[in-house]
């Protein structure tokens, strides 16, 4: 085969190849060498990023409708199934290209950040191996040209998320969080696999169709196929095949992207190292779910005419699940004090936005928000990691200064409101002076998340979703209106809890000694001095280097990605500003050819924009009013708690008891049922019993054989052996050690031989 690997048709293979290669190299080769593993992993993703950029540039260069019609891509035969063949292939259409802008870049930055964050961990090489595999799987999923290959990447990511969340496997909570994530997503994945299988079967039933296929090109860009699926009756009465498949696929996303009611795994997922959280929340895992439904949108929306506000079951499903998740998660985020958990709920909430946007047909907006969210959420998570690092350092430092370590019990299993001390925003305060770069970058990310008007990326993408909902809600259709209201409330709360988080962490005075001494690093201390108008002397520098020369490098490695991401958290949104404002919407023009039927652009309306501005600013303002105006002092009750009352607050902190509900009414009964029915009834009383009777029969037979063996065979063998033994005992007496006797025997033998020879000659 003559392949030009640098043509756009084959380049996607290389993009996914290099991280996977890094994984193999690290696992098989450099697992003992941390630095080499770092280099290999970063080199792998770095090459991948460069190739992605090349591909993206090519796609942009070709930014007209032809890329939608003729995607880049190539495929090989993978598995022959009788008359049919599974083909594995890659494709790059505008949507993929847009994802390739985000995924490798965010991953690369997370990798660099990890090199600093994971410094000193005994299993750092393993960590990088998993990260590489994680990214490789995500890239596989992104460039896949069929649903099966996408599903492979999907599942590998499931495994990687399990491994990475439970990376500190000696910690029981981490291990359980890993299991929880894996099991929860597994529930959804099984349903999704059923959907994929059903889709595969249905495509084969179409007359004059392409035959059994899962290829995106064959299904999504084939109008007759979509029509056939919509009209085909499914196995469940009253629903079309398209509906059934869509619901199953969306369920997969509900698990993967952590939508209500399967959202419970994501908040626990931050038991893993912070770069993993950044990875899961931004670049890979949860994005994959949304990416999948964005990708499958033509199928999901088949039969609906949402431009004229006619929706189908799948879209209702998405819209309701998404908006409920968006608001619910935002509400939950308000009640959290763990900085990472706040961000986790915000992720769930934002993913809810995207799913809800798809539910009302805002396809471009969903993709837009997906990428923007990835940037600022990666930024926020890495910044929070930096904060945690600083707090841990501060704790050690405080201990050196005479403040005793606080020994905290780690949760054994599912403890709802546990918050690890360095993560607790109540224990922070005043960190702006200790870690200014982190504070500033986090502020940028937070503003983007909150949708600070006109400047930030988050504003533009979120605004587009709200605008679309507004557009639908204008027609007094209750469904878009419901979505709109939910999303607006969610946006308000998002701005509020973002402000709360930031002010609690960085504003005011330090509330604990740990916060007072937080934050190492040359750059940070230099900034601290600069901020406090103190000269940074050479002595200080020497002291720092003496204290911890390695941490300085880690700190630097952790801060560079923050600054890079800050840039994207702001500018990422500018490519998608509505064309009525700036005259051209390049993102929309670029993405639109992906779909067979180009999505219409909702006419610009100033009202929703104003509303969203007000909501965002209102939320931020409320946050400032409660937390920024007079910063929380040590020991003071949270103002929100005071406003809501302890009952609701406790409920919020316990995540509305959903997790406990699951535990008590699903997990435990299931466990009990498994114990009773499967273990005792089926396994022990039926299978074991029958096995035991077989075993008893076998034992009896064995006894019989044994008796035969002892008496007959052993008797024979023993007699032989004893005979040989006694003969040997008698015979060994000739070995007297007397050389002359031996010689006598030799001579006798010689004589015998000679006589024999003579007789023969005769």
């Amino acid at each position: 085969m003559n392949v030009n690997w640098f043509s756009a048709d084959y380049l996607p293979w290389l993009i996914l190849f290099f991280p996977l290669l890094s994984f193999v190299i690290i696992v098989l080769g450099t697992i003992r060498n941390v630095v080499a593993s770092q280099v290999v992993a970063i080199a792998g993703i770095g090459i991948s990023w460069v190739l992605s950029m090349i591909l993206f540039a090519k796609a942009v260069w070709l930014a007209d409708e032809t890329l939608g019609e003729h995607v880049y891509g190539s495929a090989i035969d993978w598995l022959h199934l009788g008359a049919n063949t599974f083909r594995m292939g890659v494709q790059v259409d505008p949507l993929t290209a847009y994802m390739l802008l985000m995924v490798p870049l965010a991953s690369l930055l997370i990798f660099i950040y990890s090199a600093g964050y994971m410094h000193g961990d005994p299993h750092e090489a393993r960590f990088f191996a998993y990260l590489s595999l994680f990214v490789g799987a995500m890239l596989t999923l992104v460039v896949a040209d069929n649903l099966l290959m996408l599903f492979i990447g999907w599942e590998v990511m499931g495994f990687c998320s399990y491994s990475l969340i439970g990376f500190w496997f000696h910690k029981k909570s981490a291990m359980e969080a890993g299991v929880k994530a894996f099991m929860t997503t597994r529930v959804a994945d099984v349903l999704m696999l059923v959907g994929i299988g059903y889709l595969f079967i249905m495509t084969g039933r179409m007359e004059d169709g392409p035959g059994f296929t899962l290829s995106f090109q064959d299904i999504l860009r084939n109008e007759e196929m979509l029509k056939f699926l919509v009209n085909a009756q499914s196995v469940i009465w009253g629903t079309s095949a398209a509906t059934l498949i869509s619901v199953l696929l969306i369920t997969g996303t509900v698990g993967k992207s952590s939508q209500f009611p399967l959202h419970v795994w994501l908040p626990d997922a931050m038991e893993g190292p912070t770069p993993v959280s950044a990875m899961i929340h931004a670049a890979t895992m949860v994005s994959a779910g949304v990416y999948m439904i964005v990708r499958m949108f033509p199928l999901l929306s088949a039969g609906a005419n949402f431009h004229h506000f006619e929706y189908n079951t799948a879209m209702y499903y998405m819209g309701i699940v998404g908006s409920v998740t968006a608001l619910g998660a935002a509400v939950l985020a308000v009640g959290q004090s763990d900085i990472k958990r706040i961000l986790a709920y915000s992720t769930i909430s934002q993913l809810g936005y995207m799913v809800a946007a798809l539910g009302i047909g805002a396809w471009v907006a969903a993709a837009f928000h997906l990428v923007n969210h990835a940037f600022f959420k990666a930024l926020l998570f890495m910044a929070s990691g930096s904060v945690i690092h600083a707090m841990e350092h501060g704790e050690h430092h405080a201990a050196e200064h005479g403040h005793p370590h606080e020994h905290h019990e780690e949760p054994d299993g599912l403890v709802m409101d546990y918050c690890a001390p360095p993560n607790d925003v109540n224990r922070m305060g005043g960190l702006l002076h200790r870690i200014p770069i982190t504070a500033i970058t986090m502020a940028i990310g937070g503003l983007s998340l909150a949708g600070f008007p006109l400047v930030t990326a988050g504003f533009w993408s979120k605004d587009e979703i709200i605008a679309e909902a507004w557009h639908g809600g204008l027609w007094n259709d209750p469904y878009p209106l419901f979505v709109l209201i939910m999303l607006l409330l969610g946006a308000l709360l998002t701005a509020f809890y973002t402000a709360r988080m930031w002010f609690l962490a960085f504003w005011g005075k330090p509330r604990t000694p740990a916060a007072q001494y937080a934050g190492p690093g040359w750059l940070r201390d230099r900034w601290v001095k600069w901020w406090n108008k103190q000269p940074f002397s050479g002595e200080d520098k020497l002291e720092q280097e003496h204290a911890d020369p390695v941490t300085n490098r880690s700190a630097m490695l952790m801060e560079i990605p923050l600054m890079v991401l800050s840039f994207f958290a702001i500018t990422g949104g500018w490519i998608g500003i509505h064309k009525d404002i700036v005259g051209k919407n390049p993102l929309h023009d670029f993405l639109a050819p992906t779909l067979l039927e180009h999505p219409e652009v909702v006419p610009f309306d100033f009202t929703p924009m104003l509303v969203s501005m007000i909501v965002a600013l209102g939320g931020l303002g409320l946050g400032w009013w409660l937390y920024g105006r007079k910063p929380l002092a040590a020991g003071q009750t949270d103002p929100t708690e005071a406003a809501l009352g302890p009952g609701i607050w406790k409920m919020l902190q316990n995540r509305l008891y959903i997790d406990i509900l699951y535990r008590n009414y699903i997990v435990r009964p299931l466990e009990r049922a498994a114990e009773k029915i499967v273990v005792e009834g089926i396994d022990r009383d039926t299978i074991d019993a029958s096995l035991e009777s077989i075993a008893e029969a076998a034992i009896w037979l064995g006894e019989a054989f044994k008796r035969f063996n002892t008496v007959v065979i052993d008797g024979f063998v023993d007699t032989t052996v004893e005979g040989i033994g006694s003969f040997a005992g008698w015979f060994r007496q000739i070995q007297t050690g007397r050389i002359q006797q031996y010689l006598l025997f030799v001579t006798l033998a010689l004589l015998a031989l000679g006589t024999l020879f003579l007789i023969q000659v005769r």
Partner: protein, 102 residues
């Protein structure tokens, strides 16, 4: 001239005498002497056959020469062993060195 078989019979006698010495003498040095006698018997045979059967081909003489070399080596190592054993056990009786048995 003397027929070949006379040489052979003398050699056989020498060999048998040496063999008896090897088999019967208790002293290790005497055993070694017996071995020398046997080797000499073989040499006589070799040379006699060379003389009577193939006087133009020197195989017999060459083999006798090699027997000399082997005998010299055997005597040197054998006597060294005997003296070593004597130093250790104060005995050169072959039957006293019978540790290697069942």
């Amino acid at each position: 001239m003397i027929p070949l078989w006379m040489y052979l019979v003398v050699a056989a006698g020498l060999f048998v005498i040496g063999m008896f010495g090897v088999l019967s003498r208790r002293n290790a040095i005497a055993i070694l002497m017996g071995i020398e006698l046997m080797l000499n018997a073989v040499n006589v045979n070799l040379v006699a056959f060379w003389r009577y059967q193939t006087p133009t081909k020197l195989s017999g003489q060459a083999f006798a020469a090699f027997v000399f070399a082997v005998a010299a080596a055997e005597a040197a190592v054998g006597l060294a062993l005997i003296i070593g054993i004597y130093r250790r056990k104060r005995s050169v009786i072959a039957d006293d060195v019978n540790l290697l048995k069942w």
